[in-house]
């Protein structure tokens, strides 16, 4: 049987791509080993954040935010998107200096959404914040969405436009033949003239099946959700220097992240919470909001996500074959980019090109020997990405 396009991976990126292709008249087949949003897209903290994003991602993030606002119209679902703002707290003079410098850099790139604010404005926005806070930097139009609802909404709309999903089906091998791609799965073989790799943390394995070198490291970021507390927080909170992410949901629970790593079990496709690092995750929470110290944790969880050496994704056609498109390795911040990356991949599949700048995300940037260097500590890439 021949399909139009085969998409490997039913996370947010596979589903957003499926929706865009279906909306343009294709009938994509999404093959997902588990169930939709089983991995990063279900475990995600759901931050819709441009603030402190890598400069290469900024043009995409701007366009993506525009799409986030249109999701009710496009998908018939608001995906829980709440534009409550993202605020990074500053506690020292050096922190404040960083906010000014960062906003200036972003402005020089042509964006003015990052705004350094003083203590009074922080206090006005978040009255319960600790007095140690001296200011911050805010992106007022950022916010958060509901990851499960978002992925499900893309999937539902994609299906209603003609996309097909095969869940509980694993891709085992891929062959290139005269007519296109033949994908061997646990549910038989499928062929299509175009192939998309949206396999998240397993994207490297799919690439390897195709003879392409695209290194990722699987990481298991840890999340914490608390019991419900009276509303005290509007914007999503981060910190200029500390690993911290904190937001209050509509139901009153507080969701805390920060990129603390759990245990990865690649073989089982599972991950475990490691309480080892979590004291360090909780201290900045209490520093900022002392009243949270007494709030019980309802649940900790971890989610698997593929991280690239430079912490920005692989997005683009294979250098060997334009009918193969890669889109994975979102390195812990691909939720916000979900809507726009579907557009980009659909452009690449259908026209072989896209208007958005994706040069930095070239799939083969670590393919040549000697180019691979993991997470250079001082590099702007890592510096800009450290808050989830």
């Amino acid at each position: 049987m021949t399909e139009d396009v085969i998409i490997i991976g039913g996370g947010l990126h596979g589903s957003s791509t499926a929706y865009q292709l279906a909306a343009r008249g294709r009938r994509p087949l999404v093959i997902e080993r588990n169930h939709v949003a089983r991995h990063a897209s279900g475990a995600s903290a759901g931050g819709v954040r441009r603030l402190r994003r890598h400069r290469a991602e900024l043009p995409l993030a701007m366009e993506s935010l525009a799409l986030w606002r249109r999701l009710p119209e496009l998908l018939g679902d608001d995906c829980g998107f709440s534009p409550c703002g993202h605020l990074l707290l500053a506690e020292t003079e050096a922190d404040l200096a960083w906010t000014v410098e960062r906003a200036a850099t972003t402005r020089s790139l042509g964006y003015d959404f990052e705004e350094p604010i003083d203590r009074a404005e922080v206090k006005r926005l978040v009255p319960s914040v600790s007095n140690a806070v001296v200011g911050g930097i805010i992106a007022r139009d950022d916010g958060f969405g509901n990851p499960l609802v978002t992925t499900a909404a893309f999937r539902r709309r994609a299906e209603s436009l003609g996309a097909r999903y095969l869940e509980r089906t694993e891709v085992l091998g891929i062959d290139r033949d005269g007519d296109g791609w033949t994908v061997a799965t646990t549910a038989g073989r499928f062929s299509a003239p175009s192939l998309v790799n949206c396999a998240g943390g397993w994207g490297e394995r799919i690439a390897a099946m195709l003879g392409e070198t695209m290194p990722v490291r699987m990481k298991a970021a840890t999340m914490t959700v608390t019991a419900r507390v009276p509303r005290f927080l509007g914007p999503v909170i981060g910190h200029v220097r500390k690993k911290l992410s904190l937001k209050q949901m509509q139901n009153g629970t507080v969701v805390i992240g920060g990129g603390y790593e759990g245990r990865v079990d690649m073989e089982a496709g599972e991950s475990d919470v490691l309480y080892a690092g979590l004291p360090g995750n909780m201290k900045p929470v209490i520093d900022a909001f002392p009243h949270l110290a007494r709030v019980p944790i309802v649940r900790n969880w971890t989610g698997l996500e593929g991280n690239t050496p430079d912490a920005i994704p692989y997005i683009g056609p294979s250098p060997n074959d334009p009918t193969l498109v890669h889109s994975f390795g979102y390195s812990g911040h691909g939720f916000q980019l979900g809507p726009i990356c579907g557009v980009i991949v659909a452009d690449l599949v259908m026209q072989g090109a896209t208007a958005l700048p994706i040069g930095a995300f070239q799939p083969d940037r670590f393919a040549t020997a000697g180019t691979l260097q993991w997470g250079a500590k001082e590099g702007t890439a890592v510096e800009e990405q450290k808050a989830v």
Binding site: A227, D272, G277, I286, V298, W301
Partner: protein
């Protein structure tokens, strides 16, 4: 207290107490953790301090717990009451809060002796105040000797229901009816297993005499019950009992429900140990060998948490696990371990014989049989059977997916109550068997842990 004992045991019920005593006798340093204030676990709950301890309301079996506790107390083990274990890692490290203080233990080996819990059996109205499990009713009785003023209805199946009925009777409670959910023909089903149960003659006799005691009393017994409904506005006012087509309303202030017990697998599931479905006991249990060894080298299981065989068998299983721990820590060679193990294993076989009889007589009810679409399944998040079925109709095929979509099993109890029913509904609605569908994996922390507790844990002392 050392935070690196040879063996840490979670659970001070019969299995944990016996294991600690045996392991200490073999020269291991042992730390026994239990969230209760006193040793004894569920069955010997408050054994050393119950106001009813000296009366006939609670019988000799119950008081036998004091022997276990005394042996343990003089064993040299370290005992930590009020110690809530909120996480166990695959490497054996334990996160525990003792008297309000969170800390880490890094034992060389861990024995999980966390016992069993009552099977959840949702039916219309089961969340009304006044409705509780028979076990909860028993704990009230053991702790404070309290009996309710109003009429009590007991409903369910199995030996524990019988026991609690007799205990309430002796305590002078007004029992309006015992609604028996056991399918008719218990003795016919049991007959082929009777001879195998003779190894546990005293327990068998105890059961028979309780049945006789209940029969002699004028307590009304309603056999062959096929449906239940708790009725009331703010709290329970009556129980509707259905036998096939026939329904009857019985005024009641308290309804005690019991549908058998299942292993408490929250920790073993959290650890991602392999589990197997037990079709006769209709429950999941961790895969373990005769010594309780699991798929993870540092972690073993014993007692009703490993396999439902009752309190006496739990004692023997605890000793087996202790012998194996001593062997694995090189203080007991294999031949010695096996020599000491033989009588314990023989005792367990006897209890397995009795259990076959009980399983045949009291087959666990199907969790689906008593609920309707409006019945609450997840109490924490207020999710009904209809909500779950809607998610399945929307494409969900496994409980984790339903959990993600509906929030069923995502609340404070993390699915301890509703997990199995959720799995049952999913199996039913997707044409799978109970064996195909595991309850969702609970997330830590398993017990109360605040942001401040966690922040105060020294990072260096964590594993």
């Amino acid at each position: 207290m050392t935070d690196r004992p040879d063996l840490a045991i979670v659970g001070a019920g019969p299995a944990g107490l016996a294991a600690a005593t045996e392991a200490a006798a073999r020269g291991l340093s042992v730390t026994l953790l239990d969230e209760r204030a006193a040793p004894g676990g569920i069955v010997y709950h408050a054994v050393t301090r119950s106001p009813l301890g000296g009366t006939t309301v609670l019988d000799a079996d119950y008081r036998r717990g004091t022997g276990l506790v005394e042996a343990f107390r003089s064993s040299g083990s370290t005992y930590c009451p009020n110690a809530s274990v909120w996480a166990v890692d695959r490497d054996g490290s334990i996160g525990v809060t003792i008297d309000g203080q969170a800390r880490w233990l890094r034992p060389r080996r861990v024995l999980l002796a966390t016992g069993c819990m009552e099977r959840s059996l949702p039916f219309p109205g089961w969340t009304l105040p006044g409705v509780m499990t028979a076990g909860a009713g028993q704990i009230l009785l053991k702790d404070s000797g309290a009996i309710p003023d109003g009429p009590v209805v007991l409903a369910g199946t199995g030996p524990l229901l019988l026991l609690v009925a007799v205990q309430y009777l002796r305590a002078g409670a007004r029992i309006a009816a015992v609604a028996d959910l056991t399918p008719p023909g218990a003795w016919q089903r049991g007959l082929p297993h009777l001879a195998g149960a003779f190894g546990c003659l005293p327990l068998l006799r105890k059961g028979l005499s309780m049945m006789a005691e209940l029969r002699r009393s004028d307590v009304r017994r309603i056999p062959g019950v096929t449906g239940l409904r708790a009725i009331g506005t703010d709290r329970l006012e009556a129980v509707e009992v259905r036998q096939g087509e026939r329904a009857e309303r019985i005024p009641a202030g308290v309804l005690l429900v019991h549908a058998g017990v299942v292993p408490n697998i929250v920790l073993t599931r959290m650890l991602r140990l392999p589990h197997r479905w037990d079709p006769r006991q209709r429950c999941w249990r961790p895969d373990a060998d005769a010594f309780g060894a699991t798929g993870l080298d540092a972690i073993a299981v014993a007692g009703d948490g490993a396999r439902i065989l009752g309190a006496e068998a739990a004692v023997h299983a605890g000793r087996l696990a202790a012998l194996d721990a001593a062997h694995r820590l090189d203080v007991l060679d294999r031949a010695e371990r096996d020599r000491h193990a033989a009588p314990e294993q023989a005792a367990i076989e006897r209890h397995a014989g009795l259990r076959s009889l009980l399983d045949a007589m009291y087959p666990p009810p199907d969790g689906l049989a008593f609920l309707d679409d409006d019945t609450t399944i997840c109490r924490c998040e207020d999710i009904t059977a209809a909500d779950i079925r809607a998610a399945i109709a929307d494409g969900c095929r496994d409980p984790n997916q339903v959990k993600a979509v509906t929030r069923c099993a995502m609340g404070p109890c993390q699915g301890r109550q509703c997990g199995q029913t959720l799995a049952r509904i999913v199996a039913d609605a997707t044409g799978q068997t109970e064996e195909d569908v595991m309850p969702p994996r609970a997330r830590p922390p398993l017990r109360r842990l605040t942001i401040g507790d966690l922040a105060a844990l020294e990072t260096e002392s964590t594993p």
